[in-house]
């Protein structure tokens, strides 16, 4: 079954059009939502987390319609959600907080609930600090507490909004490993603006920009979009849409006009992403 079906979804907040006809599908494994800040990723993820309704379009999650109260409740019972900025109850210990969320996930039998809380804390490697107050944990550990609560009850659909943002490289790699394993046997929707995460983790990827889906396919297909359009040269090409000096002193030129005498090289997912969303992002880069 396709866990997530999003069809021509729109959403506006006042005059700001957050989503302008997004469509995508996600099945088992990790699906990446790639896009710059303000692309509409978080708005879409809030919809997938059933806390925001679209103005128009259609969403099906785990075969149910989140617009119907009974279906929505069923989806919520099978969903794990980590928002971009989870507001932890900082006076709680890690265990107490996950325990609190477990009750909200209808695990009311104390004995089995505590077993489940210990399990998910173990999954994210927080057993040794489970008795520590959340305010005393590092940013990475707090993120792991957030991930632990999202895994309670072994959800069929896990929605993670930029889970690796603000983490140091070692923590990011650990998170990557965890998300990769979480994606084995269930659907994970991962929002990010980091192309390396997508390349490393995702079986499918959707690129969203200005509230629209620019691409929906595999990372390899995304990379293919830049095939024959990336060159290494000693000089910055004036015709390149994007160009930067690499660590070796050569210039990486991306564009449709080949610089004379330049070496055509294999594109990366980052090249393809930059080409796809165009000059607007180039300015930010």
């Amino acid at each position: 079954m396709t866990a997530v079906v999003v069809n021509e979804v729109t959403k506006a907040f006042g005059r700001a059009q957050a989503l302008a006809g997004v469509s995508l599908q996600a099945g088992s494994g990790v699906t990446g939502l790639l896009g710059p800040n303000g692309a509409g990723k978080t708005t879409l993820l809030r919809m997938l987390a059933t806390v925001l309704a679209p103005d128009a379009g259609r969403i099906r999650l785990l075969g149910r319609d989140p617009g119907k109260p009974d279906d929505r409740l069923d989806i919520r019972r099978r969903l794990g959600y980590l928002p971009q900025e989870p507001g932890f109850h900082r006076g709680f210990t890690a265990f107490e907080f996950v325990d609190y969320v477990a009750i909200l996930k209808e695990m009311t039998d104390r004995h089995t609930r505590h077993d489940e809380v210990r399990r998910v804390l173990d999954l994210v490697g927080l057993t040794s600090v489970s008795g520590k107050k959340i305010r005393a944990l590092s940013g990475g550990m707090r993120r792991r507490v957030g991930l632990a609560q999202a895994l309670l009850g072994d959800p069929e659909l896990v929605v993670l909004d930029e889970p690796t943002v603000g983490l140091d490289p070692e923590q990011r790699l650990r998170f990557r490993e965890m998300i990769s394993r979480i994606g084995e046997g269930r659907s994970v929707i991962l929002s990010t603006h980091q192309t390396e995460d997508v390349a490393a983790l995702c079986g499918t990827v959707a690129v969203i920009h200005a509230g629209r889906t620019l691409f929906d396919g595999t990372p390899a297909q995304l990379v293919e979009q830049a095939a024959g359009r990336v060159w290494l040269d000693d000089q910055r090409s004036p015709d390149a849409r994007l160009a930067w000096r690499t660590g070796t002193g050569q210039h990486r030129n991306i564009g449709d006009v080949p610089p004379s005498g330049a070496e055509l090289v294999d594109p990366t997912i980052e090249d393809a992403y930059l080409l796809l969303i165009g000059d607007e992002v180039a300015v930010a880069v």
Partner: protein, 274 residues
Amino acid sequence: MTDVLGSTAAVTDRSSRRVPVPVALARLEAPRLARHPILLVAFAYLGLLQMIEGDTGPRAAFTMLTDVPTMLYGSFVLFAANLLASRERRGANEEWLDSMPASAAARTWAAQFAVLGPLVVAAGLVTVGYAVSLRADLFVTPPTLLEMLSGLLPVLGAGLLGVMVARWLPWPGMAALVMTGLIAVHVWLISGESDRRLLGTYVEWAAWPETGNPGAWAGLIPGSRGWHVTYLLALCAMAATGAHLGHARSKLPVLALGGAFTVLAVVAGWAQLP
């Protein structure tokens, strides 16, 4: 850390939902609320006040068990319950928690049940105080159960009001504003010798002596204790119902229930007067 993530089976048993979510949540929240820092401050304040004023005598022993819990502890409970019930909004995680199967109404119920924590603490202290005072022969007339209840129920009411304020007036300082309003109304009700003092947030059943030691016994004021307790229960129920009005799918039954409790409060408030 487990070697292979996901290799351990989830320990879930949603089929055996014997305990409703609000009750399970309240079991977690009630002890937290009972030991809320604000309530620890309340105890310190009460102790300090007792040391400074230190009224002794049968009237003081009586009022310690019938008025003080309301007047002081209850005020602090309002703030503590308000902070507990507004925690999600203040932490900006309301939307996150809305993605859980348990509804916002369940969280409100849980906050309301959690008020039982401080109430149990207050009831325990009153019970111990009653036993000690009785053993020390401090009473001329010991308080009845209804008189002690009339001191304890406003603690419950204050907590429920704190939850209601968190749902309806979710802005900083609103609990303090409501408390100020309560005090103003109460001061107006108890001013003079009118019977309207029975409509206040707490009632001093032991009459003040005309002169001399304020701890001295000067009898009890008239008024129906039973109807007064009913009046307080109706006010508690109004606050509890009001908190749910905002997120009730169907407002009419909640409004009808609130209306019924209001009528009961009016009737009992009238009937308690001597």
